[in-house]
Amino acid sequence: MTVELLIILTLVLGLVSYFMGRFNKVYGAVVTIIASMFVFISVGYMANDILDGSTFNYNAVKYLPVFATFTVSYLGIFFAILVTFVFAMVSFFNPFFVEKYKYPAVYNMLYIFSLAGVLGVFFTDNLMVLFFFFEFVVWSGLFIIPLGKSKKAAVSYYAFSTAGSFALLYAIFIMRDVAGTYNLYAGLASVSGTTQGTYVMILLSISAFSKLGAFPLHTWLPAAHGNAPHPFSPVLSGALVKLGAFVAILALVKLAPVGDLQSVFGSYTDATFLYASQYAVAILGAMTIVFGTLMAIRQDDAKKLLAYSSVSNGGYILVALSIGGSVGLAGGLYHIIAHALASAAAFLAIGAVSRVTGTSKMSELGGMIHKMPITYMVYLIAIISMAGIPPMGGFISKWLIFQAVIDNGLILIAVAVFFGSIGSFLYVFRPLAALFLGQELPQHKDKAKIPPFFMLLPMIILSLLIVYTGVFPNYILGFINDVMAELGVDALVIGKYTIQGPNGVLHPTLVASVFGVGVLIAFIIFIVLKKSRKVGLMDTYTAGNFIYTEELMHYSLDFYAPIERLYEKYINITEDFYKKLENKVVDFGRMVKYFFFTNKPEVTVFWIVVIIGFLLWGDL
């Protein structure tokens, strides 16, 4: 199976699913499962091949343009296998949601198209092909998002993504100009360390920031994730956002860093190998973490909350990648996996809840655990990983990132990183408490039921993987070491069950077993002790008065009001900035219209006279 053939087959399957979808909505959605499983398995075979040491430079389909070359690298396969896995898992949800969409067949087709686009991005060694698929992913996602709740979200998704792709394109042209070829590796190598390299790095960073939803280019992400159709939110957050991480690796690891920080701040920082460019990205990443966390705390919509947590996690990835080194890079790559799995699982769980209740607002939900216990467990495991608590995958990656940050003496960034970690305790458990725990709301009582098996299956697989990545990280870290070897970074020192950081050794399995014992004890206590009595929601009195508006008693409403008051004045600054920018363009357009487009011919005559006058003025 060559890459071209795989991509073309995927596109064909997309068309098949469209026509199946015209014929029967659900069958069309089933095609998406088949297609994405097929792609995932094929990519798995490629991974298997590359681990066996085969060489890869596929160019078998001769009708493609000559420059459309593909190659399989460790880095590509790392991203591809993760992303196609997320696609494959999420696709199981499609048949259950597709009937509600306005254009179900189009949804199926575009779902598969964006999968094909992602494959193209990760497997090409040609910059033009990379851009081609980059834009392809943008427009195929673009028409899926409005099938959810909001058209505006799709427009801002397009705007920011396109800004990112155009920055990428300009960087590509610079590389093409210097290297004389569109080859990815030659291009990056040729500009590395030159003046053009600085521009390329800035442009690639813009591209990565916009895709990853990092501050200050993040405003599209919560809107798009929060408003996309339920099965597409996990794909956006778990898979498509990772394109930004891919570009970030090109910018931060593959290019030589720019600007010697040591000569400027020599005595103030212990960052021995950190350069200005990396430091700037790390600072912006840290701001992203703080910003995402603060915004996530105040969300009422569970999907928006998770979206802001994606923003914040994107910040972690940027911090880790910009610090680099074997620990930092390994932490970043591992965090990409951990976050993809956790956010996909969490979004799927929320999606499963809103399928039956029709809302994902926390203040309108409660007590879903009674009817959906497995969904609850899935969500619990996902958020534990997101908060970076052992024994889940998120713990390992955050441990590595903390090690890298501390080892380099980056105090400001360390503060942000720890703040984000504590902040995520604050916010991720809110949907847990609000959606699943508490009393069952009467309006959802009859509708809630255990999701069908094929919805549970992907969620369970994801949960098991989250636990696996937390307990036995060393197999995956071994693969990450291969990726890092390809990127020219020293390998992370790992034992059979241990990870060696600069400040100590981590025994994930041991930690996990201690945790397991703790959970076991808690479970025994739960079984042995007396059961609690269930009361109805309306069975509530305060100060002897009956409560008429029970929603106000929902304890997750305005939960962090005191904290929010500290910063709620400043939350809209970036949004306002883009809004004002837009208004400026509109004002300019209106002004030109007002001055130039009247029903009198004299305007044209006037400008003709002015321009001729200008020319003659210069001559006389």
């Binding site: 343009p65 306005k102 254009y103 033009m128 081609f132 698929f133 834009e135 392809f136 943008v138 427009w139 673009l142 028409f143 409005p146 058209k151 799709a154 427009v155 397009y158 705007a159 396109t162 800004a163 155009f166 394109l169 300009y170 042209f173 093409r176 100009d177 363009v585 509109v586 004002d587 300019f588 357009g589 209106r590 030109v592 219209k593 130039f596 487009f597 009247t598 029903n599 009198k600 011919p601 305007v603 044209t604 005559v605 400008w607 003709i608 321009i611 001729i612 200008f614 020319l615 003659l616 210069g618 001559d619």
Partner: protein
């Protein structure tokens, strides 16, 4: 077959059709179909008229460049004519005149002859726009158009006084050998540039465009925005690449005009809330882009840009004008959800729009990438950045428009599109997709076009 028939036959038929009013629209269809058909039997040649050899006589040049332009204009013209021949029967004779004028514009190799055809096509265009029932807008168009072509004539005469020739390639040669600096020829070239700028909708000279296109109908909209725009841009391109010498102050002025048109056009479209206005302002910007590409010397890709824009604008204006006629106005709010009941037309419209925006798998992507690449490699780093910024704005408003047309919260409007129109738009959409993927012929021929567009002029 001689290319002169492309001018003579429509002109003759136009006068004959006045005598047989009943059958005039059949004549229109027949002639416009025949001229598309006849193009296949034309040899590439230079035709001297009346036996006077160039540079003394008038020559018609049929090279690859004008051939591709003739195909484009005649096919688009045929489509517009077929779709409108019943509704606007009265205009058949005028449409025939305009066909003659447009073919003449594309073919002629003589600067004064170009002026004549410009006026012939122009007068036909004014008459076509009278179907908008906005006499003031048409009057405005007429005054500006006449003034523009008069300025062209003035510039032309100044050139004649200097170099004593009217033949394009002879003129170019004379300018090359005369040793005059760019300052001497700047004024005539500016006057000619303005003359074409009025017709090509470049910004300070185009206040007619809003009055005409914002209230256009299914005949005048596609005709002016697509067929005329294509023809004028192609002729403009020939002048820019072969005749004009633009340097010094003139270059500053011209670039200023182009940048302003490019940016302001997109900004105006961005701030518009009516579908037709969005389309017309975006075509202002695209016209400037075409001229810019010609100026930077990539004639082959500029031609493909024109083809892409003209076909796209044809579809967009046709669909919009038919829908606007049935719905009463063209506010985006009225159009919301238009395509929920017209999926086929909607898909074609979407494909064409995505092509205009320049997204992959569509024809627009190929042209845009090649233009940007060529510009960048020729060392012009500012233009690609500017084009990217403008196409960023363009993308946003087009995508916003598309999403509005597909999704609505309320009821979706009922609009009927007839079969022929559906067929046409689908064929165009499919072609944009095919050539968006199968790029080899486009790539190869674009390079050819660049070579041939330096015309061999007359045979002297």
């Amino acid at each position: 077959m001689s290319a002169i028939l492309l001018i003579a036959v429509p002109l003759l038929t136009a006068f004959v059709s006045i005598l047989f009013k009943k059958y005039s629209h059949y004549m229109l269809i027949a002639v416009s179909f025949l001229s598309v058909f006849a193009l296949g039997y034309m040899d590439l040649e230079t035709i001297t008229i009346g036996g006077f050899d160039a540079p003394f006589g008038i020559v018609l040049i049929l090279d690859n460049y004008s051939l591709i332009g003739l195909y484009l204009v005649n096919i688009l013209f045929f489509i517009v004519a077929v779709l409108n021949c019943k509704e606007y029967k009265k205009l058949s004779s005028i449409l025939l005149v305009s066909l003659a004028g447009l073919n003449g514009l594309l073919l002629t190799g003589d600067l004064f002859n170009l002026f004549v055809f410009l006026e012939v096509a122009g007068i036909a265009a004014y008459l076509i726009t009278t179907t908008n029932k906005k006499p003031l807008a048409t009057f405005n168009y007429l005054v500006q158009g006449t003034l523009g072509s008069s300025l062209y004539l003035l510039g032309l005469i100044l050139l004649y006084a200097m170099f004593g020739t009217l033949n394009m390639s002879d003129m170019a040669r004379e300018i090359g050998t005369s040793g005059y600096g760019a300052g001497v020829t700047a004024l005539p070239f500016l006057l000619m540039f303005i003359g074409f700028g009025v017709e090509a909708k470049l910004l300070p000279f185009n206040s007619w465009a809003k009055g005409i296109l914002a209230s256009s109908n299914s005949l005048s909209g596609p005709m002016i925005a697509s067929v005329y725009a294509a023809a004028i841009s192609l002729v403009f391109g020939r002048l820019l690449t072969n005749v004009f010498v633009i340097e010094g102050t003139l270059l500053t002025i011209v670039m200023g005009i182009l940048v302003f048109s490019l940016v302001a056009g997109e900004a105006m479209a961005f701030s518009s809330k009516k579908v037709k206005e969005i389309l017309l302002y975006s075509s202002v910007s695209q016209a400037a882009l075409v001229v810019l590409v010609f100026m930077t010397g990539f004639a082959g890709w500029a031609v493909y840009l024109i083809i892409g824009n003209a076909t796209a604008k044809l579809v967009l204006f046709l669909v919009t004008n038919i829908a606007a006629k049935q719905l009463g106005d063209d506010e985006v709010d009225t159009f919301k959800g238009l395509f929920t009941n017209n999926k086929v037309v909607g898909l074609a419209f979407t494909a064409v729009t995505l092509s205009v925006v320049g997204l992959p798998f569509f024809f627009g992507f190929v042209t845009k990438m090649n233009i940007l690449e060529n510009m960048f490699l020729s060392g012009a780093y500012v233009w690609p950045a500017l084009i990217l910024i403008t196409s960023f704005i363009e993308g946003i408003y087009f995508i916003r428009l598309l999403l509005n047309l597909w999704h609505t919260d309320g009821d979706s409007p009922e609009v009927k599109f007839d079969f022929v129109l559906k067929y046409v738009v689908v064929v165009i959409a499919v072609l944009t997709m095919i050539f968006g993927v199968y790029t080899k012929p486009v790539q190869d021929s674009a390079d050819d076009l660049v070579v041939y567009s330096i015309t061999e002029g007359g045979n002297f």
